[in-house]
Symmetry: D2
Subunit: 437 residues, 4 copies
């Protein structure tokens, strides 16, 4: 996570002010529950809200840090500072709780906050993809497998495919958000020895979380691993679209280009260059977000009821993965929204191979006209290779080949080269993809 690839809304989640605010809410809600159970005085719980419910300013945060530097314990530092505001009733705060109750529940609140931003990011990206897909529903271009021209498709279909992928990513993120939306206030080893389970239920409810069915001082880390893995898969889909655009912007292809603002300089050395730098950048950012899943997966296997090895990892990948993915999704949405598309160039590239993309269709018609599959293949390949080598139109070659024009007839061959053949199910696919979108 570096400023260059960060957006303020997401970074704010990981800043001390937000963290301490969440800690405060956990403690204050817990006090309410404890007061309800008669464990602590109702007045104490009320005092916490009345005197403690204030913003965590820079000054407060610095003061907490100073206390931590001495005690080497962050939650104690936080509680000590809180006590300065709350006064005597502060001794009832954190009753029967352990630091991890606060830390782990807070992390999960932060992750759900981050997930909400990421879901909004995905919604913007999905909207952009849908709009551009519909705009280019009928914009014919060549489809390529192995980087080689295959059969025609439309640019709208390309975008629809990416829409579907990000839709799945969104669904997975919703599931991943639910995974980490749990609250644990269960004590030193999760037995609720010093605190009633009702406190956990109350705090969970107030924070929009569910009680963790079984924690062991910590919330189990398979949840978080699943969360970061879901981000990694979204990153893979970002990379997929980024690479598509980079390919389309290649000099030899140039079917689309990232928007290039007036003042922008492409290269200090080659002023004519318009480089797909945003999508190249996204390719790299995707590597990072995918990479963060690796330590997240290693975090699952903690020792006994917990060790704290996961903590340093999460202090880093918590912000790094969410901030980077947020930035990447935002950047990608912008790229899609403003992408410059060149339909004429798409048509030009499509025409380059003289109709070879209809070879499969010819093959089919030959077999249906009674030619054996093996022979049909040989005939099509013979003329295709000739067309490929000489640049002569595939259509003309087929008509001139008696073994082909014999069984099919000249007119039927011509009919095999209309583009509508390839477009006839575009609407069906759009209906499938955008059905509930």
């Amino acid at each position: 996570m570096i400023p260059r690839y960060s957006r303020p809304e997401m970074t704010a989640i990981w800043e001390p002010a937000n963290k301490f605010r969440i800690w405060f809410e956990i403690e204050a809600h817990a006090c309410d529950a404890l007061a309800g159970l008669g464990v602590i005085p109702k007045e104490a719980a009320a005092a916490v809200w009345e005197k403690g419910d204030k913003p965590y300013t820079e000054a407060r945060i610095e003061h907490i840090d100073a206390i931590e530097a001495e005690t080497k314990h962050d939650v104690i530092a936080f509680l000590t500072e809180l006590a300065e505001h709350v006064g005597e009733p502060a001794r009832f705060v954190h009753q029967g709780m352990t630091s991890s109750d606060v830390l782990d529940t807070c992390l999960n609140v932060q992750l759900t906050q981050a997930a909400d931003i990421l879901l909004a990011d995905l919604d913007r990206l999905l909207a952009a993809l849908k709009t551009r897909a519909e705009e280019h529903r009928e914009t014919v271009c060549i489809g390529r497998s192995h980087g080689i021209h295959a059969e025609p498709t439309t640019f709208g279909l390309k975008l629809a495919g990416h829409y579907a992928a990000f839709k799945r990513g969104r669904d997975r993120l919703v599931a991943a958000r639910a995974e980490v939306a749990t609250c644990a206030i269960s004590g030193a080893v999760g037995t609720f020895a010093n605190i009633d389970p009702a406190v956990e239920v109350h705090v969970a409810d107030k924070l929009g979380l569910k009680p963790e069915p079984m924690s062991t001082q910590v919330i189990p880390r398979d949840r978080h691993a699943a969360f970061f893995a879901a981000l990694a898969v979204v990153a893979g889909s970002i990379e997929n679209l980024a690479i598509e655009i980079r390919h389309l912007q290649r000099t030899e292809v140039r079917e689309a280009e990232e928007f290039f603002s007036k003042g922008q300089k492409g290269s200090s050395a080659m002023p004519h260059k318009r480089n797909p730098v945003l999508t190249e950048n996204l390719t790299g950012l995707a590597r990072m977000v995918r990479g963060y899943a690796v330590p997240a997966l290693e975090n699952i296997a903690l020792w006994h009821e917990r060790d704290i090895s996961h903590s340093s990892v999460e202090r880093m990948i918590g912000p790094d993965a969410t901030v980077t993915l947020d930035f990447a999704l935002g950047r990608l949405a912008g790229v899609v929204e403003k992408l410059v598309v060149y339909p004429e160039k798409m048509q030009e590239n499509l025409d380059k191979l003289g109709g070879l993309h209809n070879s499969q269709r010819v093959l089919l018609n030959l077999t249906q006209a009674g030619v054996s599959r093996e022979d049909a293949y040989r005939l099509v390949q013979r003329n295709a290779m000739e067309s490929w080598r000489t640049g002569t139109s595939f259509q003309d070659l087929l008509k001139a080949d008696p073994e082909v024009s014999g069984p099919l007839g000249q007119e039927a061959i011509d009919a095999l080269f209309d583009i509508g053949y390839h477009m006839k199910h575009v609407e069906t696919i759009f209906a499938r993809v955008f059905a509930e979108g």
Copy 2:
């Protein structure tokens, strides 16, 4: 995937006989659908089933391999061999389809077959964990955070926590199975140019899959990445339990041991040793299964409508990840089922620290008796450190300390050391964990 860590049921999924069988079914069902649409003769479709529906024997497989060695194309080799059985109507087979229609749909069938075995594996493991958890619901042992004694828990609770983790893993696997349970028969770039979408719908239905809403010759690889990531998270949970058992079997701890059969030799050099080799082995296997998620995530970003870079990865991790995880789950279930548990040793270890695990409880009672949190902490820490250093009973020290026994009273101190305090919510947690288990 090596024989040592493989089980036949899972490896069979990845063997040629199963693969070709699935290919045959895809082609034969597609013929039915094509015949239904009037694209090919009904007799042709019938002939495929009548003459082609035979087991793929070693001899057939070798013959297909021989053809592939020549044509360097696996699906053409398969079709050529099939044609030898079906005869003339074979020219209607694979009409309008592309190789990937067969290959990708087959891969997904294999992955769902694999997922079904893994789900059964998880069920066995869950059953074992539940049985042993209930058996040891009240078996008291010390809970440890940071490897250091914390507060008491029960061995049943430990197992319940792992049960909950594998239950979540099962839920994720069900979701992951659904991710890859799709079928694509959409042609060279996914436009259905040469084949009607109804064929896909029919084949999907027959194979228990759903039609892929939008494929591009290939089924999008974010699905498979999500699948392998789900396996990786399960592997993390295996590692977590494996490490727990390895810790419990340490010479100094010895609260549990892997079952050690009569004839088994532990070490060529040190015959007294009983090593937790199965769980150590599982730790390594978990590394592998987690590691396979890395290339799976890289597979998402294919070029344009597809490149084939994902294929070699999947030929390896398809079997490797599922076979290894199947083996690991089976091994772990066996370990849990036969785990030798030493409740007396658990009690002995719990007693080692002379009641220090009640320090939190003492702290709470002091604050409730009106001592400030800071003072209470100081008092508890003073006596705890003394007990730790000298081995004197914490309980005795507290009673001898007037600053503690003053506010609390001798009898109340004794009452703070009964184990029931820590056990009172065990049932609640069990109810939560096994609610719908």
Copy 3:
């Protein structure tokens, strides 16, 4: 590791016959050393060689496996079978040794054997790259950054760059081979309690290894991690060249093509297609070999003097990484050796942008003619953009622009478009790269 991506010479290293042969040699050499020290009778050591030095046939291997199935201990099974051949003196075999002495030293012998094959693979690849680089030293083509035409280079230079990368990979592999070329015969925890260090020195010497300075039952796994990391970097270089070729073979680029044999069928659906399937395949294989470094790095942190979690990982990645990399290097060498290069197409692509690749040169000459850098940039960019948009020759536009032709003069502008300018240091670079190659 699957047969499809394996070559027999490398797989043989990982087969039981080779493993048991190495075990035998370790034990037999150790007997010699023990006899030299007077620990066991000289006749016993002689008997081991005389009666035990026989090939490990299928029959012997099956017999060993049968014993292991019973004892669940591989080294004991091996020794038991060996004793059947050696007879009574067999009781002196393995004196004071521990299983890991045999297993770990064997693994390192296997890894050095594998490294030797990989080094030979790299030599073949380097030779192919050098030959083709020299063949195409002057074959001009456009260099591309960001996928966009930049300045001219030569196809020979491209290959020279890859040569240099694999040369570095070779150097790293030599270093990595040295890392794992160590021998440990140091007993249960590495103290040589039961065996004299002289035995280790002797066996190491006989096997071409160095004694491990400090082992702890096992040879430390940072060595192996470094080894597999070195393979991963080579895999990255394979991927780099593979992607270059895939790009060059794109329909729109077509500057080079993988060799396509006569009988080969490219696609069942589109017979005209020639797909870069070998380099796509290599891209996937590279993902695998890179991925194996992840568990290898996790293997370093074993518990105390050793745990056996690394073992299952190594049983898998030992063969998988070396066999896959061997196959990939062989495949890549073949691709390079037979690569079909189209110099005319390279020239055609170079010409496509009407000389825009000389923009940097024009810029430089303008600044040297007294124009400020800012103005020069603006002038070049203006004409470049015009040329890019309209397709008009950049050279003509510059000559028609008085702000450019004023300071530079028409003739000087023409002189800025000769290709020799870009080629003048090719020889220098070749000399650098192939200096000691």
Copy 4:
């Protein structure tokens, strides 16, 4: 990279002031070389040094950032600001160079600076390990394999093994530093079209680098991948030692403890706890540093002469990996320097198994006394199992077993239990490990 896990000396390397300083030096040295070649006026080169050689203050950096915000190009922003200081001669700066010449060479300077700090870190750690190893050369403790007591070793030997590992890590880092200590000033595609190779040679020399034999706008990324992989292996060794200490600090083992300062609070809930939080933290940090190698390996395969996907990755892992590793090495050195060691507890743990660790020795002596290996194994195992189960001294049981005491004799059995037997080669191993240390 977060402040909590960062040290100022290392973070300074990655701050703008250092980056711009390096950029300035590259440009200024390049001007000298260009002036020497007569390409630009000597006075211009002199002016760059005279007027431009000033610290990059906050104000300057903000100004550069403001220009970049407009031009969206960092090197142009830098040059524009430099021109404001240098004046008219500034138009000769960056002559014939491309941005990557500056950026890539700068990155490599930063990486070598980082490597120098890491080497110093390793030296401190090595010194600490050596000192403590020598201090505890004869401190006997039990060696453990599989977490199970094996044979005695010394605490000094444990530390010596880690010393050897970090010594290897240091050697690998020296090699990795050399890998990235290269300079490229070769132009847009590496052909030196617009700049003489002599400039590169001069700048490399002045910056303590070597000219990159063949660059393609960028320095090839296999170098950087090898660099980050070397850091990852060091991280693995950190984890290895961290886990050793965590194990030794377990409540049941307690042979060593991280230093615990007076004021420090271990847990808000359990004041008696002294947790190995530093080494747990190091375990997590190691996961991160290992993880950064994954995207570094993916960075190798750039498109054609370069794409910029590697850049965002390096902007993140450049600082993240080096800062985190620096912090981790410093923390670990502190842990080792101040580690509290409990030799009496080591002896107590060693004695726990009643001499079972001599079983191998007994086995050997039995075979040397003429008992067959199989029988000897059975006899030792029988008594070992009895001792393990009942807690009776192994030594006593052996003497009471006529099948053992017959061949060996009572006195000889007693002699088999002296600890000196296990210590006799400690000096030899120390000599090996610290030979050239």
